[in-house]
């Protein structure tokens, strides 16, 4: 099954700060969508990410402070349900490296192309949040195409 893969390197940060950007509502709201609710810091916790009308509900499947986060999509667009999103963090010199995988898509449909490019935009938003204090979460996100 096809996966979406991405990588960014974040300067002037720490493993702890990047991990918090993935495991607190405040952190997630700073780079992905400002409408983030739930319990991202607890295994088994549910997180609601909302974008205008739609959005995603994730279950936190695994947390390994401060190196690994795994979510499973339990509600949202049909193509996303059952997919998993992993975040691997590591230090490399002056960078915190973020390796992201959005796994288990059933088919490489046009929506998967869209989501892949859009994930890159949001990872750059996370990088900006941590490096400068200012991300570009929904609804302030960079638009890429006819679907947003």
């Amino acid at each position: 099954m096809p996966d979406i893969l991405h990588k960014v390197g974040i300067k002037s940060s720490s493993l702890d700060e990047v991990y918090k950007a993935l495991t607190t509502c405040e952190g997630l709201a700073g780079w992905w969508t400002n409408d983030t609710k739930g319990e991202p810091g607890k295994v088994g916790g549910i997180v609601q990410f909302r974008f205008g009308a739609g959005g995603f509900d994730m279950e936190v499947v695994r947390l390994q402070p401060t190196n690994y986060v795994l979510w499973k999509v339990i509600d949202g667009p049909e193509e996303w349900i059952g997919t998993r999103i992993s975040w691997e963090l590591k230090e490399d010199g002056e960078y915190i490296i973020v390796l992201m995988k959005h796994m288990d898509w059933k088919e490489p449909v046009e929506f998967m192309h869209h989501c892949s490019t859009k994930w890159a935009i949001f990872l750059m938003s996370m990088k900006s949040l941590l490096e400068t204090g200012k991300g570009a979460p929904n609804p302030y996100d960079v638009k890429i195409d006819n679907w947003n």
Copy 2:
């Protein structure tokens, strides 16, 4: 074998203009790397894309004006050799939609994560070139991590 997928939608453009951005050295130099040489507009043509010390040589495998372009990587980093890159163009309302696939990677290595995010950056550069007249090709490209 895993693929990289991306999509952008370009406003204020035409199929012909986007196709030219993929099949002329001037077009490619405007969004990917300013050091682009060769024959991107001819089936069987070789194109040299250079980024500082390294780069990629592509063979143009298929051209279907103004909807489809297929390249095969014949020289460059080991992970890229033998991979193929396709570009599908279509109109959707006020947008020209670009669907890109970088196919046939052997393994989902860290370099593939890097290249996936970097492709998104370059597709946004192509969108910017066509919408505003100004792209951000190498060496003016947005940096994403410790590898560039």
